[in-house]
């Protein structure tokens, strides 16, 4: 997105909104990771604590999901850049 058409004051407001949203994105990622990895890895409810096997499954799951998110983030940014170029060429 391009905010250069905005007044300086509005750009500052936008920056604060952006900061708030990044915090929300992080909290959503964090909560989503727990939900996904407990869903995929925790099956034994005869005990009250995470077992060794569950523990490594959770770590792998979290690590893999973060790498997936980062990879998709890169591809997504590339696609968005391509589209803005295409939109610019069309003007």
């Amino acid at each position: 997105m391009d905010f250069s058409g905005m007044s300086q004051g509005d750009q500052e407001v936008m920056a604060r909104i952006l900061e708030k949203k990044q915090m929300q994105d992080f909290l959503r990622l964090y909560n989503g990771l727990t939900e996904k990895c407990v869903g995929d890895c925790v099956e034994d409810f005869t005990v009250r604590h995470i077992t060794g096997h569950e523990q490594s499954c959770i770590e792998y799951c979290a690590s893999k999901f973060i790498k997936l998110s980062q990879r998709i983030g890169q591809r997504f940014a590339e696609q968005q850049a391509l589209q803005q170029e295409a939109a610019g060429a069309g003007q």
Partner: protein, 94 residues
């Protein structure tokens, strides 16, 4: 807000508020698109049995193609919605 941004009338403030709101909605829509993209390509490309914490080569290739196809589908559906809108002066339900 608007201190260095030119005219300071109520009209300018309203325009500025509308512009900020649209920018915020656009950001929310992109975040939502990204989250659904991640969820879809995760389901399509990464089995939920984990042997280690790395993406395999095959998974990585699948993910890249999944992103490309997802965005292509998103574009096509966007055009479809525009056509329907043009035809019917149609509106979203509710």
């Amino acid at each position: 807000m608007g201190l260095f941004g030119g005219g300071n009338s109520a009209a300018a403030a309203a325009q500025s508020a509308a512009q900020l709101q649209m920018a915020e909605q656009e950001m929310d829509a992109i975040t939502d698109l990204f989250n659904r993209l991640v969820s879809t390509c995760n389901k399509k490309c990464v089995p939920n049995k984990y042997r280690d914490g790395e993406l395999t080569k095959g998974e990585s290739v699948c993910i890249d193609r999944c992103v490309a196809k997802y965005m292509e589908a998103h574009d096509k559906i966007g055009k479809l919605l525009q056509e329907m809108n043009a035809q019917q002066g149609g509106q979203a339900p509710v």
